[in-house]
């Protein structure tokens, strides 16, 4: 019982501290703005540990964070193998191919408003579909290994990035295009010097969304069939064996990978679109 009450007390104290910090002038500093959510997260973990231990929850239902941590530490090679299979071999190549194809397609259909008016509604429609459903079909075509997972990722990221890129290419206003006309600039000059840089903020919006989609695609595709490694595979088999601490360990790795991937794209975005108001605004 001491676990339960102790953690509840700690959670209450931390929340009080957070409320105090948030209301004070200290909240303006960057360090405090990072501290508050971090404190929130840590106390959630403590509460989790406390409730599980205090109420004697079976590890088959919900393992405590300490057990998960132990599993991560103890099973690093396994987690690494799965990470390589799913993220490095499945998600990343699929992401690169899918996004690249989407950008190229957007540029190709740029000169044909007819094709744009036809492809965009179709693209918006496909982007809303449960694309993970095509995983079994792609496994049938490309086999069990990482290629089919990469293929699923390609299909998942293609349309959101295409829609965003087309929006980006259309983002220049009439005045800018007229100015280019007064210099008698050709189509490619105008594309490279004006429209592509102007499209970058939109493109990155799509690329960031695509990072999450890539991860989901790669992992869920493995639920449909996979060689004996990979994060999705590990999760579904560990669930079958009720080894829930391993499942949580894999999810923790997935969460870290997802955040790191997103963070990396956001960093590149900051470098390439430093000039955009959203990057310059200091809240």
């Amino acid at each position: 019982m001491i676990w339960l009450w102790g953690s509840l007390a700690l959670w209450a104290a931390a929340t009080a501290l957070n409320v105090a910090l948030a209301g004070s002038s200290l909240a303006r500093s960057r360090a405090v703005r990072l501290l508050i959510p971090a404190l929130f997260g840590v106390t959630l973990l403590v509460l989790w540990e406390g409730v599980v231990r205090g109420l004697d929850v079976s590890p088959v239902i919900l393992p405590p964070p300490s057990a998960i941590g132990a599993r991560i530490a103890g099973d690093l090679p396994l987690l690494w193998t799965d990470f390589v299979q799913t993220i490095l071999k499945g998600a990343l190549p699929g992401y690169a191919i899918g996004c690249g194809a989407a950008v190229l397609t957007a540029i190709l259909i740029d000169r044909s408003p007819f094709l744009q008016r036809g492809l965009l509604p179709v693209g918006n429609f496909v982007a809303a579909l449960p694309v993970v459903g095509i995983a079994p079909i792609l496994v049938m075509w490309f086999g069990f290994d990482w290629q089919s997972k990469a293929a699923v990722v390609v299909v998942m990221v293609f349309f959101p990035v295409l829609v965003n890129m087309v929006a980006g290419l259309a983002a220049t206003d009439r005045m800018q295009r007229d100015l280019m006309a007064t210099w008698s600039a050709g189509y490619w000059q105008s594309l490279v010097k004006l429209r592509l840089p102007a499209a970058l903020p939109f493109l990155f919006n799509g690329l960031k969304i695509a990072t999450t989609l890539a991860l989901i695609g790669a992992i869920v595709a493995e639920f449909f069939g996979s060689p004996t490694r990979g994060m999705g595979f590990r999760i579904s088999t560990a669930v079958g064996q009720l080894a829930l601490d391993l499942v949580w360990a894999e999810i923790a790795v997935a969460a870290l990978a997802g955040s790191a991937f997103y963070g990396l794209v956001a960093l590149i975005e900051r470098g390439l679109t430093f000039w955009h108001p959203s990057q310059r605004a200091r809240v």
Binding site: M175, Q176, A181, K193, T273
Partner: protein, 258 residues
């Protein structure tokens, strides 16, 4: 020497609500080195006419020649620089980068680009600001950079569409003076669209008063004011007389509509 010649120029837009006569029976000759202002209420066709000279619009009637060629040919020969109402600088390029942009497109050598950028930035009093980004500059400075950009490739004609409209009066006065000095130094032919009567009278050698529905010229005033003009000239009786004539022309064309 006539640089821009318009004969019976007409421009009709077909819209959902019927045809719009943006320009009708426009006859005008602009000589080399003149500073011509176009003034009139919204819809009188002044911007449309400027854009037609720039080959951004095409007349549906009459003939329009620039430097003896069609406006399209003149555009391809890079005969003019265009300054819009907004500076329209690229936020991802420095000021120098922005001024360099048309030079890159037109294929000037790197060395020439550098030399020209420096020269025109000095002309508009922006030396030392080349490495800054547009958002680091005030509105007036951005507009000066935009003018520098239009001057960079030595076009003989400068077309300006209400370039100072978005700026406050004090900055505007200063830029008016600088523009006149620039004109004196470079001897370009300038077409200038404005809403402001004092600005039109202060800057021009010729004032073209226009009125809407259909867009047409109601008066062409050759200014008797000397080329050298300090700002104080705006308080002299000659200036006021010309401004009065412009106002009359506007009122006549406008009728009683608000």
């Amino acid at each position: 020497m006539t640089v821009i010649e318009a004969r019976n120029v007409g421009l009709t837009f077909a819209t959902n609500d019927g045809p719009v006569h943006a320009l009708k029976d426009v006859n005008l000759s602009i000589g080399k080195g003149e500073f011509v202002s176009f003034i009139g209420p919204s819809g009188c066709g002044k911007t449309t006419f400027l854009r037609a000279i720039a080959a951004l619009e095409h007349p549906t009637e009459g003939t329009l020649t620039v430097n003896g060629m069609s406006p399209d040919a003149a555009r391809q020969a890079r005969a003019y620089g265009y300054v819009f109402q907004a500076a329209g600088l690229y936020p991802w390029r420095t000021i120098a980068g922005n001024v360099r942009l048309p030079l890159e497109i037109m294929g000037f050598s790197k060395a020439e680009q550098a030399e020209r950028v420096e020269r025109v930035l000095a002309l508009v009093d922006l030396e030392g600001f080349g490495k800054k980004f547009p958002w680091q500059l005030s509105g007036g400075m951005q507009q000066r950079a935009s003018i520098a950009r239009a001057l960079a490739f030595d076009a003989d004609i400068l077309l300006m569409d209400e370039p100072f409209g978005a700026l406050d009066e004090i900055v505007r006065d200063r830029l008016n003076e600088e523009l006149l000095a620039l004109w004196a130094r470079t001897g370009k032919t300038i077409g200038f669209v404005t809403h402001s009567i004092p600005e039109a009278v202060y800057l021009s050698t010729k004032i073209v008063v226009m009125s809407p529905r259909p867009g047409r010229i109601t008066d062409v005033i050759d200014s008797p004011l000397p080329r050298e003009r300090p700002l104080e000239i705006r308080d002299t009786p000659e200036f006021i007389a010309i401004a009065h004539r412009v106002r009359e022309g506007l009122r006549a064309g406008h009728g009683y509509e608000v």
